[in-house]
Amino acid sequence: MSSMGTTTFEIVINLVKTVLIFLMMVQAVPILVWLERRGSGFIQNRFGPNRVGPLGLVQLLADAVKFLNKEDFVPDKGNRFLFYAAPVFALIPAAVAFMAIPMSTPLTVGDSTFLIQGYEVNIGIVFILGISAMAVYTMLMAGWGSSSKFSLMGAMRAAAQVISYELALGLAIVGVILVYGTFNLTEMIVAQQGPLRFSGFGFDFVAPTAFLPNWGIFFQPLGAILLFCAAFAESNRLPFDLAEGEAELVAGFHTEYGGFKMLMFFIGEYGHMMIAAGLMTTFYFGGYGIPGWTTQEVYAAGLSMFGNETAASVFNTAIHFLSFNIKFAIFLWIFIHVRWTLPRFRYDQLMDIGWKTMLPWALFNTILTATVIFLASQYIIG
Protein backbone atom coordinates (compact mmCIF):
# COMPACT_ATOMS: atom_id res chain seq x y z
CA MET A 1 0.00 0.00 0.00
CA SER A 2 3.06 2.16 -0.05
CA SER A 3 2.19 2.82 -3.70
CA MET A 4 -0.25 5.40 -2.44
CA GLY A 5 2.75 7.61 -1.63
CA THR A 6 4.27 8.98 1.51
CA THR A 7 3.75 12.71 1.43
CA THR A 8 0.39 14.41 1.37
CA PHE A 9 1.10 15.73 -2.11
CA GLU A 10 1.72 12.28 -3.45
CA ILE A 11 -1.34 10.82 -1.79
CA VAL A 12 -3.58 13.53 -3.14
CA ILE A 13 -2.19 13.21 -6.65
CA ASN A 14 -2.48 9.44 -6.52
CA LEU A 15 -6.08 9.63 -5.38
CA VAL A 16 -6.92 12.12 -8.10
CA LYS A 17 -5.15 9.95 -10.62
CA THR A 18 -7.11 6.88 -9.56
CA VAL A 19 -10.39 8.72 -9.90
CA LEU A 20 -9.28 10.06 -13.28
CA ILE A 21 -8.46 6.61 -14.59
CA PHE A 22 -11.81 5.32 -13.40
CA LEU A 23 -13.52 8.24 -15.10
CA MET A 24 -11.49 7.68 -18.22
CA MET A 25 -12.75 4.12 -18.33
CA VAL A 26 -16.33 5.15 -17.74
CA GLN A 27 -16.14 8.00 -20.24
CA ALA A 28 -14.62 5.81 -22.88
CA VAL A 29 -17.88 3.87 -22.95
CA PRO A 30 -20.05 6.54 -24.62
CA ILE A 31 -17.34 7.10 -27.19
CA LEU A 32 -17.14 3.39 -27.83
CA VAL A 33 -20.91 3.12 -28.14
CA TRP A 34 -20.88 5.99 -30.60
CA LEU A 35 -18.02 4.36 -32.47
CA GLU A 36 -19.86 1.08 -32.49
CA ARG A 37 -23.03 2.59 -33.87
CA ARG A 38 -21.30 4.75 -36.43
CA GLY A 39 -18.98 1.89 -37.31
CA SER A 40 -21.81 -0.53 -37.81
CA GLY A 41 -23.54 2.05 -39.93
CA PHE A 42 -20.39 2.43 -41.98
CA ILE A 43 -20.04 -1.34 -42.36
CA GLN A 44 -23.71 -1.80 -43.23
CA ASN A 45 -23.73 1.09 -45.66
CA ARG A 46 -26.00 3.38 -43.64
CA PHE A 47 -25.47 6.52 -41.57
CA GLY A 48 -25.87 5.63 -37.92
CA PRO A 49 -26.58 8.42 -35.42
CA ASN A 50 -25.61 11.65 -37.07
CA ARG A 51 -28.23 14.21 -36.01
CA VAL A 52 -27.38 15.27 -32.48
CA GLY A 53 -24.27 17.41 -32.46
CA PRO A 54 -21.30 17.18 -34.80
CA LEU A 55 -21.13 13.71 -36.33
CA GLY A 56 -23.80 12.66 -33.86
CA LEU A 57 -21.32 12.79 -30.99
CA VAL A 58 -23.80 14.32 -28.57
CA GLN A 59 -26.26 11.50 -29.22
CA LEU A 60 -24.80 9.63 -26.29
CA LEU A 61 -25.35 12.50 -23.95
CA ALA A 62 -28.96 12.51 -25.00
CA ASP A 63 -29.13 8.78 -24.48
CA ALA A 64 -27.69 9.12 -21.00
CA VAL A 65 -30.32 11.67 -20.12
CA LYS A 66 -32.96 9.35 -21.48
CA PHE A 67 -31.61 6.44 -19.40
CA LEU A 68 -31.61 8.49 -16.25
CA ASN A 69 -35.22 9.47 -16.74
CA LYS A 70 -36.50 5.97 -17.32
CA GLU A 71 -38.75 4.22 -14.88
CA ASP A 72 -36.94 2.45 -12.07
CA PHE A 73 -38.44 -0.97 -12.63
CA VAL A 74 -38.16 -3.99 -10.29
CA PRO A 75 -39.80 -7.31 -11.16
CA ASP A 76 -42.61 -8.20 -8.83
CA LYS A 77 -41.26 -11.46 -7.55
CA GLY A 78 -37.63 -10.50 -7.94
CA ASN A 79 -35.10 -10.22 -5.20
CA ARG A 80 -34.81 -6.48 -4.65
CA PHE A 81 -31.40 -6.52 -3.05
CA LEU A 82 -29.71 -8.67 -5.66
CA PHE A 83 -31.53 -6.87 -8.43
CA TYR A 84 -30.08 -3.54 -7.37
CA ALA A 85 -26.68 -4.88 -6.30
CA ALA A 86 -25.89 -6.65 -9.57
CA PRO A 87 -25.34 -3.60 -11.81
CA VAL A 88 -23.24 -1.92 -9.14
CA PHE A 89 -21.07 -4.98 -8.81
CA ALA A 90 -20.79 -5.15 -12.59
CA LEU A 91 -18.73 -1.98 -12.55
CA ILE A 92 -16.33 -2.90 -9.76
CA PRO A 93 -14.29 -5.82 -11.18
CA ALA A 94 -13.91 -4.16 -14.55
CA ALA A 95 -12.73 -0.90 -13.02
CA VAL A 96 -10.43 -2.54 -10.48
CA ALA A 97 -8.80 -4.79 -13.04
CA PHE A 98 -8.44 -2.06 -15.63
CA MET A 99 -6.62 0.15 -13.19
CA ALA A 100 -3.80 -2.39 -12.85
CA ILE A 101 -2.78 -1.97 -16.49
CA PRO A 102 0.12 0.46 -16.92
CA MET A 103 -0.66 3.05 -19.56
CA SER A 104 2.54 5.06 -19.76
CA THR A 105 5.98 5.56 -18.29
CA PRO A 106 6.01 6.81 -14.71
CA LEU A 107 5.78 10.57 -14.38
CA THR A 108 8.49 12.19 -12.28
CA VAL A 109 7.75 15.51 -10.67
CA GLY A 110 10.52 16.67 -8.39
CA ASP A 111 11.16 13.85 -5.96
CA SER A 112 7.82 12.17 -6.52
CA THR A 113 7.15 9.51 -9.07
CA PHE A 114 3.62 8.74 -10.24
CA LEU A 115 2.68 5.60 -12.05
CA ILE A 116 0.24 6.04 -14.90
CA GLN A 117 -1.95 3.25 -13.64
CA GLY A 118 -4.28 2.89 -10.68
CA TYR A 119 -1.78 0.99 -8.64
CA GLU A 120 1.10 -1.32 -9.35
CA VAL A 121 0.54 -4.94 -8.37
CA ASN A 122 3.53 -7.22 -8.38
CA ILE A 123 1.45 -10.15 -9.52
CA GLY A 124 -0.36 -8.06 -12.13
CA ILE A 125 -1.63 -10.84 -14.36
CA VAL A 126 -2.87 -13.04 -11.54
CA PHE A 127 -4.57 -10.07 -9.96
CA ILE A 128 -6.35 -9.10 -13.15
CA LEU A 129 -7.44 -12.67 -13.79
CA GLY A 130 -8.68 -13.05 -10.24
CA ILE A 131 -10.61 -9.81 -10.26
CA SER A 132 -12.20 -10.34 -13.64
CA ALA A 133 -13.24 -13.82 -12.54
CA MET A 134 -15.60 -12.10 -10.12
CA ALA A 135 -17.60 -10.65 -12.99
CA VAL A 136 -19.50 -13.93 -13.17
CA TYR A 137 -21.30 -13.10 -9.96
CA THR A 138 -22.90 -10.01 -11.38
CA MET A 139 -24.48 -12.05 -14.12
CA LEU A 140 -25.64 -14.71 -11.70
CA MET A 141 -26.95 -12.11 -9.26
CA ALA A 142 -28.78 -10.28 -12.02
CA GLY A 143 -30.21 -13.46 -13.48
CA TRP A 144 -31.32 -14.78 -10.14
CA GLY A 145 -32.52 -11.48 -8.81
CA SER A 146 -34.79 -10.89 -11.82
CA SER A 147 -36.73 -14.02 -10.97
CA SER A 148 -37.29 -14.69 -14.64
CA LYS A 149 -36.64 -17.84 -16.60
CA PHE A 150 -34.98 -16.00 -19.44
CA SER A 151 -32.76 -14.05 -17.13
CA LEU A 152 -31.68 -17.11 -15.18
CA MET A 153 -31.06 -19.10 -18.34
CA GLY A 154 -29.05 -16.25 -19.82
CA ALA A 155 -27.07 -15.94 -16.61
CA MET A 156 -26.30 -19.65 -16.52
CA ARG A 157 -25.21 -19.65 -20.12
CA ALA A 158 -23.05 -16.61 -19.63
CA ALA A 159 -21.48 -17.99 -16.47
CA ALA A 160 -20.76 -21.36 -18.05
CA GLN A 161 -19.26 -19.64 -21.05
CA VAL A 162 -17.08 -17.34 -19.00
CA ILE A 163 -15.80 -20.16 -16.82
CA SER A 164 -15.07 -22.37 -19.81
CA TYR A 165 -13.11 -19.75 -21.66
CA GLU A 166 -11.27 -18.64 -18.56
CA LEU A 167 -9.27 -21.87 -18.81
CA ALA A 168 -8.04 -21.17 -22.30
CA LEU A 169 -7.42 -17.56 -21.35
CA GLY A 170 -5.38 -18.50 -18.30
CA LEU A 171 -3.35 -21.07 -20.18
CA ALA A 172 -2.63 -18.64 -22.99
CA ILE A 173 -1.35 -16.22 -20.38
CA VAL A 174 0.90 -18.91 -18.88
CA GLY A 175 2.88 -18.84 -22.12
CA VAL A 176 3.36 -15.10 -21.71
CA ILE A 177 4.48 -15.54 -18.12
CA LEU A 178 6.98 -18.20 -19.21
CA VAL A 179 8.42 -15.97 -21.91
CA TYR A 180 8.92 -12.92 -19.70
CA GLY A 181 9.53 -14.74 -16.44
CA THR A 182 7.45 -12.29 -14.45
CA PHE A 183 3.90 -11.52 -13.40
CA ASN A 184 4.52 -7.83 -13.40
CA LEU A 185 3.01 -5.98 -16.34
CA THR A 186 5.51 -3.12 -16.23
CA GLU A 187 8.43 -5.51 -16.31
CA MET A 188 6.86 -7.18 -19.32
CA ILE A 189 6.62 -3.90 -21.16
CA VAL A 190 10.23 -3.09 -20.31
CA ALA A 191 11.25 -6.47 -21.66
CA GLN A 192 9.59 -5.63 -24.98
CA GLN A 193 11.68 -2.52 -25.55
CA GLY A 194 14.32 -2.41 -28.22
CA PRO A 195 14.73 -4.34 -31.47
CA LEU A 196 13.59 -7.92 -31.94
CA ARG A 197 15.98 -10.30 -30.31
CA PHE A 198 16.03 -14.07 -30.16
CA SER A 199 18.60 -15.60 -27.91
CA GLY A 200 19.05 -19.21 -26.89
CA PHE A 201 20.57 -22.40 -28.27
CA GLY A 202 23.82 -20.46 -28.33
CA PHE A 203 22.45 -17.94 -30.86
CA ASP A 204 21.84 -14.30 -30.27
CA PHE A 205 19.91 -12.93 -33.21
CA VAL A 206 19.13 -9.22 -33.22
CA ALA A 207 16.86 -7.75 -35.88
CA PRO A 208 18.81 -5.62 -38.33
CA THR A 209 16.31 -2.79 -38.18
CA ALA A 210 15.30 -1.09 -34.98
CA PHE A 211 11.74 -0.77 -36.31
CA LEU A 212 11.11 -4.49 -35.85
CA PRO A 213 10.20 -4.31 -32.18
CA ASN A 214 10.88 -6.97 -29.58
CA TRP A 215 7.19 -7.61 -29.13
CA GLY A 216 5.59 -10.65 -27.52
CA ILE A 217 3.58 -11.43 -30.64
CA PHE A 218 6.78 -12.77 -32.22
CA PHE A 219 7.31 -15.14 -29.33
CA GLN A 220 3.73 -16.14 -28.64
CA PRO A 221 1.72 -15.90 -31.88
CA LEU A 222 -0.54 -18.81 -30.99
CA GLY A 223 -0.98 -17.54 -27.45
CA ALA A 224 -1.99 -14.14 -28.79
CA ILE A 225 -4.68 -15.61 -31.04
CA LEU A 226 -6.01 -17.79 -28.24
CA LEU A 227 -6.06 -14.96 -25.75
CA PHE A 228 -7.83 -12.67 -28.17
CA CYS A 229 -10.50 -15.28 -28.97
CA ALA A 230 -10.99 -16.12 -25.31
CA ALA A 231 -11.30 -12.43 -24.56
CA PHE A 232 -14.21 -12.18 -26.98
CA ALA A 233 -15.96 -14.98 -25.12
CA GLU A 234 -15.10 -13.50 -21.75
CA SER A 235 -16.72 -10.21 -22.61
CA ASN A 236 -19.78 -11.94 -24.08
CA ARG A 237 -19.43 -10.27 -27.44
CA LEU A 238 -20.14 -11.55 -30.88
CA PRO A 239 -19.42 -14.16 -32.10
CA PHE A 240 -19.82 -15.47 -28.56
CA ASP A 241 -22.84 -13.48 -27.37
CA LEU A 242 -24.99 -16.56 -26.73
CA ALA A 243 -26.01 -15.32 -23.34
CA GLU A 244 -27.66 -12.25 -24.76
CA GLY A 245 -28.43 -13.15 -28.32
CA GLU A 246 -29.18 -9.48 -28.67
CA ALA A 247 -29.82 -9.61 -32.38
CA GLU A 248 -32.90 -11.81 -32.23
CA LEU A 249 -33.65 -13.04 -28.70
CA VAL A 250 -34.38 -11.56 -25.33
CA ALA A 251 -31.24 -10.05 -23.90
CA GLY A 252 -29.88 -12.64 -21.51
CA PHE A 253 -29.33 -11.96 -17.87
CA HIS A 254 -30.35 -8.31 -18.12
CA THR A 255 -33.68 -8.95 -19.75
CA GLU A 256 -35.54 -7.35 -16.87
CA TYR A 257 -33.25 -4.37 -16.60
CA GLY A 258 -33.81 -0.97 -18.01
CA GLY A 259 -32.64 2.57 -17.66
CA PHE A 260 -29.46 3.41 -15.84
CA LYS A 261 -29.01 -0.07 -14.34
CA MET A 262 -28.86 -1.43 -17.85
CA LEU A 263 -26.32 1.21 -18.75
CA MET A 264 -24.13 0.08 -15.87
CA PHE A 265 -24.09 -3.44 -17.26
CA PHE A 266 -23.01 -1.96 -20.55
CA ILE A 267 -20.23 -0.07 -18.88
CA GLY A 268 -19.09 -3.29 -17.23
CA GLU A 269 -19.12 -5.11 -20.53
CA TYR A 270 -17.19 -2.42 -22.33
CA GLY A 271 -14.83 -2.40 -19.37
CA HIS A 272 -14.08 -6.05 -20.03
CA MET A 273 -13.46 -5.25 -23.63
CA MET A 274 -11.04 -2.55 -22.60
CA ILE A 275 -9.22 -4.88 -20.24
CA ALA A 276 -8.85 -7.40 -23.04
CA ALA A 277 -7.55 -4.75 -25.41
CA GLY A 278 -5.19 -3.45 -22.73
CA LEU A 279 -3.88 -6.94 -22.01
CA MET A 280 -3.36 -7.69 -25.69
CA THR A 281 -1.41 -4.44 -26.00
CA THR A 282 0.63 -5.15 -22.90
CA PHE A 283 1.40 -8.82 -23.50
CA TYR A 284 1.98 -8.93 -27.21
CA PHE A 285 2.39 -5.43 -28.61
CA GLY A 286 4.88 -3.74 -26.38
CA GLY A 287 2.43 -1.93 -24.09
CA TYR A 288 3.12 1.78 -24.18
CA GLY A 289 6.43 1.25 -25.95
CA ILE A 290 7.08 2.88 -29.32
CA PRO A 291 8.76 0.72 -31.98
CA GLY A 292 12.18 2.08 -32.80
CA TRP A 293 12.64 4.20 -29.69
CA THR A 294 13.20 3.10 -26.15
CA THR A 295 11.75 5.10 -23.28
CA GLN A 296 15.21 6.40 -22.42
CA GLU A 297 15.69 7.72 -25.94
CA VAL A 298 12.34 9.51 -25.85
CA TYR A 299 13.19 10.96 -22.47
CA ALA A 300 16.56 12.16 -23.75
CA ALA A 301 14.85 13.74 -26.74
CA GLY A 302 12.43 15.50 -24.40
CA LEU A 303 15.32 16.68 -22.25
CA SER A 304 17.13 18.18 -25.23
CA MET A 305 13.91 19.78 -26.43
CA PHE A 306 12.80 21.36 -23.16
CA GLY A 307 15.95 21.33 -21.04
CA ASN A 308 13.83 20.65 -18.00
CA GLU A 309 13.61 17.29 -16.31
CA THR A 310 9.98 17.67 -15.26
CA ALA A 311 8.95 18.81 -18.70
CA ALA A 312 10.92 15.98 -20.29
CA SER A 313 9.19 13.51 -18.01
CA VAL A 314 5.78 14.95 -18.86
CA PHE A 315 6.66 14.80 -22.57
CA ASN A 316 7.87 11.23 -22.19
CA THR A 317 4.71 10.19 -20.38
CA ALA A 318 2.43 11.95 -22.80
CA ILE A 319 4.07 10.44 -25.87
CA HIS A 320 3.87 6.96 -24.44
CA PHE A 321 0.33 7.47 -23.26
CA LEU A 322 -0.53 8.36 -26.84
CA SER A 323 1.29 5.27 -28.09
CA PHE A 324 -0.62 3.07 -25.68
CA ASN A 325 -3.92 4.60 -26.64
CA ILE A 326 -3.33 4.15 -30.35
CA LYS A 327 -2.70 0.42 -29.91
CA PHE A 328 -5.55 0.22 -27.44
CA ALA A 329 -7.94 1.88 -29.88
CA ILE A 330 -6.91 -0.44 -32.68
CA PHE A 331 -7.86 -3.45 -30.59
CA LEU A 332 -11.13 -1.89 -29.53
CA TRP A 333 -11.91 -1.25 -33.18
CA ILE A 334 -11.16 -4.90 -33.97
CA PHE A 335 -13.63 -5.86 -31.28
CA ILE A 336 -16.25 -3.68 -32.89
CA HIS A 337 -15.43 -4.73 -36.41
CA VAL A 338 -15.65 -8.44 -35.52
CA ARG A 339 -19.01 -7.89 -33.93
CA TRP A 340 -20.46 -6.56 -37.14
CA THR A 341 -18.71 -9.07 -39.34
CA LEU A 342 -19.10 -12.54 -37.88
CA PRO A 343 -22.34 -14.42 -37.16
CA ARG A 344 -23.01 -16.15 -33.86
CA PHE A 345 -22.05 -19.68 -32.84
CA ARG A 346 -24.55 -22.24 -31.67
CA TYR A 347 -24.28 -23.06 -27.97
CA ASP A 348 -22.82 -26.56 -28.51
CA GLN A 349 -20.36 -25.14 -31.02
CA LEU A 350 -19.35 -22.57 -28.45
CA MET A 351 -18.62 -25.22 -25.83
CA ASP A 352 -16.87 -27.40 -28.40
CA ILE A 353 -14.62 -24.57 -29.43
CA GLY A 354 -13.81 -23.73 -25.83
CA TRP A 355 -13.11 -27.20 -24.54
CA LYS A 356 -12.12 -29.23 -27.55
CA THR A 357 -10.23 -26.72 -29.66
CA MET A 358 -8.96 -23.81 -27.66
CA LEU A 359 -8.06 -25.64 -24.47
CA PRO A 360 -5.93 -28.29 -26.23
CA TRP A 361 -4.22 -25.64 -28.32
CA ALA A 362 -3.58 -23.54 -25.25
CA LEU A 363 -2.13 -26.58 -23.50
CA PHE A 364 0.00 -27.31 -26.53
CA ASN A 365 1.19 -23.71 -26.58
CA THR A 366 2.11 -23.87 -22.90
CA ILE A 367 4.00 -27.13 -23.22
CA LEU A 368 5.75 -26.01 -26.39
CA THR A 369 6.77 -22.71 -24.83
CA ALA A 370 8.07 -24.37 -21.69
CA THR A 371 9.99 -26.98 -23.69
CA VAL A 372 11.56 -24.47 -26.02
CA ILE A 373 12.53 -22.17 -23.18
CA PHE A 374 14.06 -25.04 -21.26
CA LEU A 375 15.96 -26.39 -24.24
CA ALA A 376 17.10 -22.94 -25.30
CA SER A 377 18.57 -22.34 -21.89
CA GLN A 378 20.16 -25.78 -21.63
CA TYR A 379 21.56 -26.64 -25.02
CA ILE A 380 23.82 -24.95 -27.49
CA ILE A 381 23.62 -25.82 -31.16
CA GLY A 382 26.76 -25.41 -33.21
Partner: protein
Protein backbone atom coordinates in the same frame (compact mmCIF):
# COMPACT_ATOMS: atom_id res chain seq x y z
CA UNK B 1 -2.30 2.74 14.41
CA UNK B 2 -0.36 1.77 11.37
CA UNK B 3 -1.87 1.17 7.96
CA UNK B 4 -1.36 -2.58 8.39
CA UNK B 5 -3.28 -2.63 11.64
CA UNK B 6 -6.17 -0.68 10.18
CA UNK B 7 -6.28 -3.00 7.24
CA UNK B 8 -6.12 -6.06 9.45
CA UNK B 9 -8.94 -4.96 11.71
CA UNK B 10 -11.08 -3.89 8.79
CA UNK B 11 -10.52 -7.18 6.98
CA UNK B 12 -11.06 -9.29 10.05
CA UNK B 13 -14.37 -7.58 10.70
CA UNK B 14 -15.38 -8.17 7.09
CA UNK B 15 -14.26 -11.79 7.18
CA UNK B 16 -15.85 -12.63 10.50
CA UNK B 17 -19.07 -10.79 9.62
CA UNK B 18 -19.33 -12.47 6.25
CA UNK B 19 -18.44 -15.82 7.81
CA UNK B 20 -21.17 -15.44 10.38
CA UNK B 21 -23.69 -14.59 7.72
CA UNK B 22 -22.72 -17.73 5.80
CA UNK B 23 -23.89 -19.72 8.76
CA UNK B 24 -26.80 -17.58 9.84
CA UNK B 25 -28.49 -16.53 6.60
CA UNK B 26 -31.53 -18.64 5.97
CA UNK B 27 -31.39 -18.22 2.22
CA UNK B 28 -28.55 -20.37 0.83
CA UNK B 29 -27.95 -17.89 -1.98
CA UNK B 30 -27.10 -15.21 0.52
CA UNK B 31 -24.92 -17.70 2.35
CA UNK B 32 -23.02 -18.39 -0.81
CA UNK B 33 -22.61 -14.72 -1.64
CA UNK B 34 -21.41 -14.09 1.90
CA UNK B 35 -18.90 -16.87 1.45
CA UNK B 36 -17.64 -15.15 -1.69
CA UNK B 37 -17.23 -12.04 0.42
CA UNK B 38 -15.31 -14.04 3.02
CA UNK B 39 -13.02 -15.43 0.41
CA UNK B 40 -12.27 -12.05 -1.08
CA UNK B 41 -11.48 -10.90 2.44
CA UNK B 42 -9.20 -13.88 2.99
CA UNK B 43 -7.46 -13.08 -0.28
CA UNK B 44 -6.87 -9.57 0.97
CA UNK B 45 -5.56 -11.00 4.23
CA UNK B 46 -3.12 -13.10 2.22
CA UNK B 47 -1.97 -9.92 0.55
CA UNK B 48 -1.34 -8.30 3.95
CA UNK B 49 0.77 -11.37 4.76
CA UNK B 50 2.89 -10.74 1.62
CA UNK B 51 1.47 -13.84 -0.08
CA UNK B 52 0.42 -11.95 -3.21
CA UNK B 53 0.47 -14.90 -5.50
CA UNK B 54 -1.68 -16.94 -3.17
CA UNK B 55 -4.07 -14.00 -2.93
CA UNK B 56 -4.44 -14.06 -6.69
CA UNK B 57 -4.85 -17.81 -6.74
CA UNK B 58 -7.41 -17.57 -3.96
CA UNK B 59 -9.38 -15.15 -6.11
CA UNK B 60 -9.13 -17.26 -9.24
CA UNK B 61 -9.73 -20.66 -7.69
CA UNK B 62 -12.18 -19.93 -4.92
CA UNK B 63 -14.19 -16.97 -6.06
CA UNK B 64 -13.67 -17.58 -9.75
CA UNK B 65 -14.35 -21.28 -9.91
CA UNK B 66 -15.42 -23.04 -6.74
CA UNK B 67 -17.95 -20.52 -5.53
CA UNK B 68 -19.35 -19.97 -9.01
CA UNK B 69 -20.08 -23.67 -9.01
CA UNK B 70 -21.87 -23.38 -5.68
CA UNK B 71 -23.91 -20.41 -6.81
CA UNK B 72 -24.82 -22.04 -10.09
CA UNK B 73 -25.94 -25.23 -8.37
CA UNK B 74 -27.98 -23.26 -5.87
CA UNK B 75 -29.62 -21.24 -8.60
CA UNK B 76 -30.35 -24.36 -10.62
CA UNK B 77 -32.05 -25.94 -7.63
CA UNK B 78 -34.14 -22.81 -7.22
CA UNK B 79 -34.09 -23.06 -3.44
CA UNK B 80 -36.11 -20.46 -1.64
CA UNK B 81 -35.74 -19.20 1.86
CA UNK B 82 -35.70 -22.21 4.16
CA UNK B 83 -38.36 -22.52 6.80
CA UNK B 84 -36.22 -24.74 8.95
CA UNK B 85 -32.65 -23.81 8.24
CA UNK B 86 -31.22 -25.22 11.45
CA UNK B 87 -31.37 -28.78 12.71
CA UNK B 88 -34.01 -29.79 15.19
CA UNK B 89 -33.50 -30.86 18.80
CA UNK B 90 -33.31 -28.36 21.61
CA UNK B 91 -30.91 -30.34 23.81
CA UNK B 92 -28.52 -31.35 21.06
CA UNK B 93 -28.79 -27.86 19.66
CA UNK B 94 -27.78 -26.44 22.97
CA UNK B 95 -24.89 -28.84 23.22
CA UNK B 96 -23.78 -28.00 19.75
CA UNK B 97 -23.81 -24.28 20.32
CA UNK B 98 -22.16 -24.70 23.69
CA UNK B 99 -19.59 -27.02 22.16
CA UNK B 100 -18.76 -24.56 19.44
CA UNK B 101 -18.48 -21.76 21.98
CA UNK B 102 -16.19 -23.79 24.18
CA UNK B 103 -14.17 -24.76 21.16
CA UNK B 104 -13.74 -21.15 20.11
CA UNK B 105 -12.74 -20.15 23.62
CA UNK B 106 -10.30 -23.01 23.92
CA UNK B 107 -8.71 -22.32 20.56
CA UNK B 108 -8.22 -18.66 21.31
CA UNK B 109 -6.99 -19.53 24.77
CA UNK B 110 -4.52 -22.07 23.52
CA UNK B 111 -3.21 -19.71 20.87
CA UNK B 112 -2.70 -16.76 23.16
CA UNK B 113 -1.52 -18.87 26.04
CA UNK B 114 0.98 -21.09 24.33
CA UNK B 115 2.51 -18.55 21.98
CA UNK B 116 2.99 -16.16 24.88
CA UNK B 117 5.00 -18.77 26.67
CA UNK B 118 7.17 -19.78 23.74
CA UNK B 119 7.72 -17.39 20.95
CA UNK B 120 8.16 -19.11 17.65
CA UNK B 121 11.45 -17.45 16.89
CA UNK B 122 13.87 -16.31 19.51
CA UNK B 123 13.94 -12.56 20.06
CA UNK B 124 17.00 -10.92 18.55
CA UNK B 125 18.03 -13.92 16.50
CA UNK B 126 19.19 -13.25 12.93
CA UNK B 127 16.05 -14.95 11.67
CA UNK B 128 13.90 -12.52 13.61
CA UNK B 129 15.79 -9.64 12.01
CA UNK B 130 15.26 -11.21 8.63
CA UNK B 131 11.57 -11.49 9.30
CA UNK B 132 11.38 -7.88 10.33
CA UNK B 133 13.26 -6.89 7.19
CA UNK B 134 11.04 -8.96 4.97
CA UNK B 135 7.88 -7.78 6.64
CA UNK B 136 9.02 -4.19 6.23
CA UNK B 137 9.99 -4.52 2.58
CA UNK B 138 6.82 -6.36 1.67
CA UNK B 139 8.95 -8.34 -0.71
CA UNK B 140 7.25 -10.70 -3.09
CA UNK B 141 7.99 -14.30 -2.30
CA UNK B 142 6.40 -15.87 -5.35
CA UNK B 143 9.78 -17.02 -6.59
CA UNK B 144 10.61 -18.78 -3.34
CA UNK B 145 7.18 -20.35 -3.37
CA UNK B 146 7.62 -21.64 -6.90
CA UNK B 147 11.04 -23.06 -6.13
CA UNK B 148 9.67 -24.84 -3.12
CA UNK B 149 6.67 -26.08 -5.06
CA UNK B 150 8.44 -27.29 -8.16
CA UNK B 151 11.67 -28.59 -6.67
CA UNK B 152 10.95 -29.79 -3.18
CA UNK B 153 7.29 -30.71 -3.40
CA UNK B 154 7.12 -31.72 -7.03
CA UNK B 155 5.78 -35.17 -6.19
CA UNK B 156 2.88 -33.74 -4.23
CA UNK B 157 2.20 -31.32 -7.05
CA UNK B 158 2.12 -34.11 -9.62
CA UNK B 159 -0.10 -36.22 -7.39
CA UNK B 160 -2.51 -33.32 -7.11
CA UNK B 161 -2.68 -33.27 -10.88
CA UNK B 162 -3.59 -36.94 -10.85
CA UNK B 163 -6.15 -36.28 -8.14
CA UNK B 164 -7.77 -33.56 -10.21
CA UNK B 165 -7.99 -35.86 -13.21
CA UNK B 166 -9.60 -38.57 -11.11
CA UNK B 167 -12.00 -36.06 -9.62
CA UNK B 168 -12.95 -34.73 -13.03
CA UNK B 169 -13.76 -38.21 -14.29
CA UNK B 170 -15.56 -39.10 -11.08
CA UNK B 171 -17.72 -35.99 -11.14
CA UNK B 172 -18.71 -36.58 -14.72
CA UNK B 173 -19.60 -40.18 -13.87
CA UNK B 174 -21.56 -39.11 -10.79
CA UNK B 175 -23.56 -36.39 -12.44
CA UNK B 176 -24.35 -38.48 -15.49
CA UNK B 177 -25.88 -41.32 -13.50
CA UNK B 178 -29.57 -40.73 -12.93
CA UNK B 179 -29.95 -40.85 -9.18
CA UNK B 180 -27.22 -43.44 -8.67
CA UNK B 181 -28.24 -46.61 -6.90
CA UNK B 182 -31.50 -45.02 -5.80
CA UNK B 183 -32.61 -44.47 -9.36
CA UNK B 184 -36.33 -44.67 -9.77
CA UNK B 185 -36.73 -43.78 -13.39
Amino acid sequence: MSMDAVLFWFLSIVVIGAGLSVVLMSNPIYSALSLVMTMVGVAALFATLNAYFLAGVQLIVYTGAVMVLFVMVLMLFDLKRELQAFSRGKITGFFKIAGVGVLAGLLVGVITFTTQKTSLIAEGSPLAADIAAQAASGADNTKILSENLFLKNILGFELLGVLLLVIAIGVVALSRSKGGTHARD
